[in-house]
């Protein structure tokens, strides 16, 4: 076996007395693709942040190619060949793609940035990740999330890594891009680069990695070669207990009373006549490649978009809600769990209790004044219902792990007792245990007569959770799949609009 490129000896890190990592010994070797597995809060992020120079360990030492090192800043780590792509995208939205790719070390001429060289370099790197379609002059904020993630990958490549860390790097990618990333990592592996790969998608880990390390509660549980443990065993290592069937059982299909009927919905050039219908007690999935109008459809139904045309009928009443306020307070209430929980779903700096109550102040108020007894009972109930693990309701919501944050977003909406629940990729970046809790919750809400419409970029989830799936392509529904027709192949084929083109 080769010498490790990075080695941890007894590394510990505490935040305000709470253990994030404890006496971790860990090594990764050149020419491997190494998966780091663990639930949210297991210490994966802390592990890589130490490696990337963002955090300084409280105890223990880190060795890089046999030398003891300690990085004072991410820049120093980068200069030593450790390049990290963080879970939160680290691009500057108002700069161009080329500016972002070359941001840390732009090509210079007479001390000024050489824009032409910069664009050439960006083009070369984008070509390496097969994203020639991205214009290096485009502003990052104009790109959809999946494209931004590819830009991020190109930026990381440009730094010539010896160790490449990918933290949830594929969470927003389309399947074609995921394949590109796979090929890229295989290529880097051949050149002796060590890649650390953090993902909650087991099939990606399966397809890609050769070594796996499991973390739990800040401790390194085990490192093993791929194939040494079955999936079930790995999940057990991750959560320390057995898990039951991944998706809750579906009820027999029955005739449903439609609560939401959408016909010919159009918005700018993103929605080109969407027809969708959902019944009470039904979970309907939205499939398709990223950026085919799924997000816009959900936002339009929630009253966020201006200038939407087409017909929407909610429980017999026609009309599109004029604002989120109108959507949540009509006679048929609509809730939306947005795509990005950190900026759209939560007020991160505010207490958990305030976040939970944000949509339901009118339900805990007498007149204009909030009844504090009523409010704290409602908060306690919501936290208990979703089994959110927190310290105190007055803690800032950013102290929670990603999974618990998402539960807070969902709990907030359950407080208004919505009839229609729209979810935009609700399990993105969430650990296995919490995912399953969310699946069970969705099913139990449907059993209570709620209608659920959700978009997911994970096909297994769409198939496992939904009663029906609409596949969107270019702002239209190209296929509606039900029962046994809901297979991964069926969805992929419809996503690429293959059968429709052939017909």
């Amino acid at each position: 076996m080769t010498e490790p490129i990075v080695e941890y000896r007894g590394i510990s890190k505490y935040f305000a007395g709470i253990r994030a990592l404890e006496k971790v010994d860990f090594a990764c070797r050149p020419g491997t693709i190494h998966a780091i597995l663990g639930e949210n809060g297991a210490g994966k992020s802390t592990l890589i942040k130490i490696m990337a120079g963002v955090l300084v360990p409280d105890a223990g030492e880190m060795l890089l190619e046999g030398r003891t090192v300690s990085f004072a800043s991410p820049d120093e780590a980068t200069r030593n060949g450790i390049v990290c792509m963080f879970q939160e995208l680290s691009l500057v939205p108002d700069l161009t793609v080329a500016d972002n790719i070359c941001i840390s070390d732009p090509p210079r001429r007479f001390g000024l940035i050489d824009r032409r060289a910069q664009v050439r370099r960006a083009e070369a790197l984008l070509a390496r990740v097969r994203c020639e379609d991205i214009d290096p002059h485009a502003l990052v904020r104009e790109l959809p999330l999946s494209r931004r993630q590819m830009v991020e990958i190109a930026k990381a490549l440009g730094r010539d890594p010896k160790v490449l860390i990918l933290d949830e790097a594929t969470s927003a990618l389309t399947s074609r891009d995921v394949q590109t990333v796979y090929d890229l990592l295989a290529d880097l592996k051949g050149r002796g680069v060590s890649s650390l790969f953090i993902s909650h998608r087991m099939h990606e880990v399966e397809a890609l990695c050769d070594t796996l390390s499991v973390f739990r509660n800040g401790q390194h549980i085990e490192t093993f070669a791929k194939g040494a443990h079955s999936d079930t065993e790995i999940v057990r290592l991750m959560i320390g207990r057995d898990v039951e069937a991944q998706f809750p059982p579906k009820p027999q299909p029955k005739a449903l009373d439609p609560i939401l009927t959408v016909k010919g919905l159009r918005w700018e050039n993103r929605l080109n006549g969407v027809d969708v219908s959902i019944g009470r007690g039904e979970i309907v999935g939205l499939g398709g490649l990223d950026g085919q109008g799924q997000k816009e459809l959900l936002l339009a139904l929630f009253g966020v978009l201006r200038g939407v045309s087409g017909s929407v009928e909610v429980a017999g009443k026609r009309g599109i809600p004029s604002s989120p306020y109108a959507a949540k307070s009509g006679s048929t209430r609509i809730a939306l769990v947005p795509e990005d929980r950190k900026t759209e779903g939560l007020m991160l700096g505010m207490p958990i209790a305030d976040n939970l109550l944000a949509a339901a102040f009118d339900r805990v108020s007498r007149g204009p004044v909030i009844d504090s007894g009523l409010a704290s009972r409602a908060v306690a109930e919501a936290l208990a219902k979703l089994q959110v693990r927190i310290g105190a309701p007055t803690d800032a919501v950013m102290t929670l792990s990603g999974g618990n944050q998402q539960k807070v977003v969902i709990a907030k909406w359950l407080m208004v007792d919505p009839d229609i629940i729209l979810l935009n990729d609700p399990t993105r970046g969430i650990d296995v245990g919490t995912k399953q809790e969310i699946y069970r919750l969705m099913r139990s809400l449907a059993d209570d007569g709620k209608a659920i419409l959700f978009y997911s970029s994970d096909y297994a989830e769409l198939i496992g959770c939904s009663d029906r799936v609409y596949v969107l392509y270019d702002g239209r529904v190209v296929s509606e799949l039900e029962g046994d027709a809901m297979t991964e192949e069926g969805i992929v084929a419809a996503s690429l609009n293959i059968d429709v083109e052939a017909a």
């Binding site: 966020v304 949540k328 700096g349 944000a358 102040f361």
Partner: protein
């Protein structure tokens, strides 16, 4: 001790300690130079609070706007315009007139920021200038009535049970603002909107109305302060509000309200106002040459913000 306080309470505690330090330093100075302790006499302190009431009421309104991450730079001329219009109308209609001016300016500011999406720093600065122009136009050709009405004189100068009425007005405004912020849906929505407007909007909070509400509160507070100040100085005059803008912002920020919005407690603003009033009065007792107090005043504000800034560093 300070380390154990929550991040919200820490600035308030630091500011309170600083008030003590000012009192001690000022008293030591007067003991040495004249052998008296005027700073610690109840009469003197009440008089300081009375003059502090005008600033305190302005700062209360300003805090609502700063909690949203916005700012209201139109306070000086909202105050002056409300006062001058009120005295021109005179009689029993003076108070409703002043408040109507404040309401109108607040609605206009709120409309510009919430609906037209113009940055508040620019929009309210423009409104301030427009108001100044309007007031010059109003007083330009002829001299309107500028005498304070009896009610103004009563609210600003009289005492009840030995305590100036102005302090009661300030206390009433303080109770109102603090109840609004902690106990009403509107107040909690102000925090939510200031913390992350997109998330608040997607939670079904009517963020535009919240923004308008905050600017209206600020306008009303400035108008009320102008009403009182007219009584205190016996007449309304141009530029009477000019001295209040920076101290009002400083009081809010020294009290621990985050200048980018979302965090802060009303008790902090109260402490911040008292700090600024006492600092000014101690510096004037020390009879420094004119430049001295200004340099010290500015240095103290920057220094205290540095202290908070280092503590309140939040990573997300």
């Amino acid at each position: 001790m300070l380390a154990r306080l929550s991040p919200e309470d820490r600035p308030i505690a630091i500011a309170a300690l600083f008030i003590l330090a000012i009192l001690i330093a000022g008293t030591a100075y007067t003991l040495i130079t004249s052998g008296t302790v005027p700073l610690l006499s109840p009469g003197y302190l009440l008089q300081q609070l009375q003059t502090g009431a005008f600033l305190g009421i302005c700062a209360a309104g300003m805090m609502m706007v700063i909690l949203l991450g916005h700012i209201d730079l139109s306070i000086p001329w909202t105050l002056s315009a409300a006062a001058m219009t009120a005295t021109a109308v005179g009689g029993d209609l003076a108070l409703p007139t002043a408040l109507a001016v404040g309401l109108a300016v607040g609605l206009f500011n709120g409309f510009g920021v919430a609906y037209l999406r113009i940055p508040s720093m620019i929009f309210t600065l423009g409104v301030d200038t427009v108001l100044r122009g309007l007031m010059v136009a109003q007083t330009g050709g002829f001299a309107p009535q500028d005498r304070a009405t009896p009610m103004m004189l009563f609210l600003a100068k009289e005492k009840i049970l030995g305590i100036p009425v102005a302090i009661f007005v300030w206390a009433a405004v303080s109770v109102a603002i603090s109840v609004i912020l902690t106990r009403t849906a509107f107040g909690r929505s102000v925090y939510a909107t200031g913390s992350r407007e997109a998330a608040a909007y997607l939670s079904g909070i009517r963020t535009r109305r919240v923004i308008i509400g905050a600017f209206v509160t600020s306008g009303l507070c400035a108008a009320l302060a102008g009403f009182l100040l007219t009584g205190y100085s016996a007449k309304a005059y141009q530029g009477m509000g000019n001295a209040f803008l920076l101290p009002a912002i400083a009081a809010v920020v020294l009290g621990g309200t985050h200048i980018l919005g979302g965090r802060g407690r009303y008790a902090g603003t109260l402490v911040g106002v008292i700090l600024i009033v006492l600092l000014n009065s101690v510096l004037s007792i020390m009879q420094m040459p004119e430049a001295g107090p200004q340099i010290i005043y500015g240095t103290v504000i920057i220094g205290m913000l540095l202290v908070y800034g280092r503590n309140a560093r939040v990573t997300s």
